[in-house]
């Protein structure tokens, strides 16, 4: 293990250009500076340098919460670099999992998250008062770890659209939790410190809008309007409130009571982080040239994805004739539903084709098989062979990376199916536990001969929003086993586990073990030696998806 000190400062110089253009916390936009790749350059950068404090830590880490506007300015050891990064990654993964299983900020969520903070030595207390009897790192030290680990992960997660999106989502959730935990006085201080200044409306305007304001939000009563300040915020700065229609919107401005200002803050955080990541990505080549850091950063970037089933391992092992029976035995409910709709209607809309088509690719269908499969089904419907070849074949080849940017698409994970691309009129995709009417879901399960007690167990889980657990229960019931012994997060994983249970053979088991092992190694054991990194399958995936979406509109 290398113990050479890493000059974080020299690393910092490399990321420095990334932060040059960031709006700072302490007073609006920084004027642009030329990037300097030297130590002195770094020091010259901050024109408004604070005096060197007697206790720099208190100055820097005096506040429980920050926007991560300023990168760390110190040296750390390589082992600290690694530990901090891995710990934060674990924290973010916990946040991701909790976010799917529990309502955010609910009691269970908060309890579990706080436990994780404690285990990993991350700060969670608004006050930094250290009681002398405490063992382990002080609150200030934890805040320092929080600060540094955030910036390290930026380096790892700025590289592709997918990684950025994931990182931002978890950091925003983390921020939301911490901001929520601040006592009201500190919340106000935070706002002022960070220059979130919006106009308030005067009393007359409040009076005239009273009805509209009260009717726009469950949390706003007549008293709220009277007592609190209402801010007029451009709607672009309050997208979450607009999206869910939780606020009054007039002529492009939303009217927000002081109590709801957190959403604005979150939005601001998200925007800043997004911009920062884009800038960081541009400076990355310099960081990658350091061989000590590059492998670790690569591993961090891949570890979260888990197995993405993008590399086809069983190509050709499945024949088309098997699909009907497999759909009943080994497909998760979402794919079974899609398959059935396809057989019944001889057609699937774009969302369904993507979700199901990529799944089939993941279980091992070759491109030729896929083309034959879709073609033979579509022809039975309203599409003639010619039209299929013209319009649909292209998109299937696209899925296999044979057209356009030639990116190999990855099959959708449960998270993706549940959270994005909700089905609308005419669609059959999505997650049935999330998107189907409970009544229709019940009927479907009855049709598939799930026992009544099993169905009620599933519906309970659905009610609690535990969609993946519901699917796992469905797995257990349809395979007649007590305990699934795996944590479901991907439809293809469902398929593989199912084949295992049904005696699919040792090959599949071996494959699962190696991939799981490599995934775990990447996260917990830390960097040991150069390892072959899996193909960078998700380069600009989201961008590609958008491209493709715009290209294909259903006829």
């Amino acid at each position: 293990m290398l113990t050479t000190d890493v000059h974080f400062l020299s690393r910092h110089v490399i990321v420095l250009p990334a932060f040059v253009e960031q709006p700072t916390l302490f007073g609006g936009l920084e004027p642009r500076r030329r990037c300097c790749y030297s130590l002195t350059g770094a020091m010259q950068f901050s024109g408004r340098r604070r005096k060197i404090n007697a206790n720099p830590q208190t100055e820097l880490y005096g506040h429980a919460l920050q926007f991560y506007g300023q990168p760390p300015l110190e040296n750390i050891s390589l082992s600290e670099f690694e530990t901090f990064a891995v710990d934060r990654l674990k924290l973010l993964k916990t946040i991701e999992n909790l976010g799917v299983s529990y309502v955010k900020l609910s009691e269970q969520y908060s309890k579990k998250l706080e436990a994780e903070f404690k285990t990993l030595s991350f700060p969670y207390r608004p006050e930094a008062d250290d009681r002398k009897t405490q063992t382990g790192p002080s609150e200030l030290e934890k805040r320092r770890k929080d600060h540094i680990s955030h910036f390290i992960l930026r380096l790892a997660y700025c590289q592709t659209e997918d990684l950025r999106r994931w990182f931002i989502q978890q950091e925003v959730d983390l921020f939301r939790y911490r901001f929520n935990n601040l006592p009201p006085k500190q919340k106000l201080e935070f706002l002022h410190r960070n220059n979130l200044q919006y106009d308030t409306i005067n009393v007359e305007e409040k009076k005239s809008l009273l009805d509209k304001l009260v009717n726009s939000s469950y949390a706003v009563s007549g008293i709220t309007v009277e007592d609190q300040d209402f801010y007029k915020v451009p709607f672009q700065d309050a997208l979450d409130l607009v999206r869910t229609r939780k606020v009054y919107l007039k002529a492009g401005y939303v009217y927000i009571p002081h109590q709801d200002i957190v959403t604005i803050v979150l939005n601001d955080f998200r925007t800043r982080l997004s911009k920062a990541l884009a800038l960081t990505a541009r400076s990355l080549p310099a960081v990658h040239s350091d061989e000590r850091l590059q492998p670790l950063l690569n591993h961090l970037g891949h570890a979260y994805v888990g197995q993405d089933y993008s590399i086809q391992k069983n190509v050709g092992k499945i024949s088309l004739e098997q699909i009907d029976s497999l759909s009943g035995k080994s497909f998760p409910l979402c794919m079974r539903q899609l398959h059935q709709s396809l057989r019944e209607n001889h057609h699937l809309r774009h969302g369904g084709r993507m979700q199901y088509g990529l799944f089939l690719k993941g279980i091992g269908l070759s491109l030729e098989q896929a083309l034959q499969f879709w073609r033979s089904e579509f022809i039975r419907g309203k599409v003639d062979a010619d039209k299929f070849d013209k319009a649909y074949a292209y998109s299937i080849r696209h899925m296999f990376g044979k057209e356009g940017k030639r990116t190999d698409y990855t099959p959708y994970s449960c998270m993706k199916v549940i959270l994005s691309n909700a089905p609308s009129q005419g669609d059959h995709h999505g997650c049935p536990f999330r998107h189907n009417d409970p009544e229709l879901l019940k009927q479907k399960l009855q049709l598939y001969k799930v026992s009544p007690s099993g169905i009620s167990q599933i519906l309970e889980l659905v009610k609690g929003m535990h969609y993946q657990l519901a699917c796992q229960k469905y797995f257990e019931l349809t395979h007649n086993i007590e305990d699934a012994s795996f944590s479901l997060n991907h439809p293809n994983q469902y398929f593989i586990e199912s084949q295992k249970v049904l005696g699919g053979g040792k090959d599949i088991k071996r494959e699962m073990d190696t991939s799981q092992r490599s995934q775990e190694n990447g996260v917990t054991k830390g960097f040991v030696s150069a390892r072959e990194t899996p193909a960078n399958a998700s380069q600009d995936l989201a961008e590609m998806t958008e491209d493709l979406d715009s290209f294909f509109q259903d006829a």
């Binding site: 726009s216 539903q337 009129q425 998107h435 009417d437 600009d540």
Partner: protein
Amino acid sequence: MPASNYDQACLQDLLPLYYKRLFPFAQYYRWLNYGGVQKNYFQNREFSFTLKDDIYVRYQSFSTQGELEKEMQKMNPYKIDIGAIYSHRPNQHNTVKSGTFQALEKELVFDIDMTDYDDVRSCCSAADICSKCWTLMTIAIRILDRALREDFGFQHLLWVYSGRRGVHCWVCDEAARKLSVAARSAVAEYLSLVKGGEQTVKKVVLSDPIHPFIRESLTVVDHYFTQYALQDQDILGRKESVDKVLALVPEDVRKDLQQDFKNEKKPETRWKLIEDQAIRKQSTAKKGQHFEKEIMLQYCYPRLDVNVSKGVNHLLKSPFSVHPKTGRISVPMDIKELDTFDPFAVPTISLICEELDRPRTGEEDEKSEDIKDKENEKDGAERRKIRDFKKTSLGKYVKYFDRFLDGMARSWKGDLLRKSDLQKEF
């Protein structure tokens, strides 16, 4: 007005004529150039063409109006789509370093398609439309137009008939063009009330408090509901329709209504019974009490495709493009005349080509108008072009488009002045 018989096979012959003498290039360029306030705005705009035999070409871009005209007259596209304004000229995107070619701006757009209402209209399905279900488009336009203007503060909205079974909205305000993906998606979500696919029976669920936006939308739906839903669509007439409606009310209420309906057959009265039940429930229950509103919205509220509105780089059919299946021109719609808009009266390409040879009555007045024409860059060919679409049924739509552009031009003027002030040019 009867449209000349249109046959898709004629398209090959009609398109050259259309692009040569009828397509309003001057107005089109005036629109997409946006007053020249931003550099290279027109040059960096992506167009895509669908040519004969379904050949599709993307990343077309043009330096000037003249180049656009020439290319279109050469290629005679069957369909034209407009995309985003990119960081570089789209037709040079292959020469740009990968990752730096990006879509920067585009109008905020909405696409309302009649097929998305198939579960709630009984008169037609799929690509068909009729005067009965067209009301759905009228309602959609009224609701969205109001919301985009009053709630979001947008001013320059261009509504366009797609040529077959829907309408598009182009929000051309500068603020709209600069919206991010997240913002577009938020706007679309705000405007969405009907949610769920094949597997969802109840697609609209309201809870207290009822947001002002929903109230305003209900006011619009209310205006059309009796005529459209109770009479034209007869949703409370036939048994299957009635069952579908009653599937949307709470179970206890459903039983009562089924009982009442045995004796009451008149749709208007049946609806009153539903409303009364709802009022009763609203004074007692905390959940599921707004079912009468939910029914109205499920049957009438606009259904948007969020994906169309979300993407900055999404390609959408261009105004004045021809719809190959129907031959109709995608014409801008004058909202002031919305209630009398008839999609079947929209001119087809065959009609207007025919009208080119057949002089229309009233051309005498139009000739004198031309002399008074204030446009000063027009040469002989241009003047002929103006006369040409004025000769045809397309004329009134181009005129309306002009008025729309005039409205925007006032804001461009202000922008240019501000810019030149900043640069201290006089």
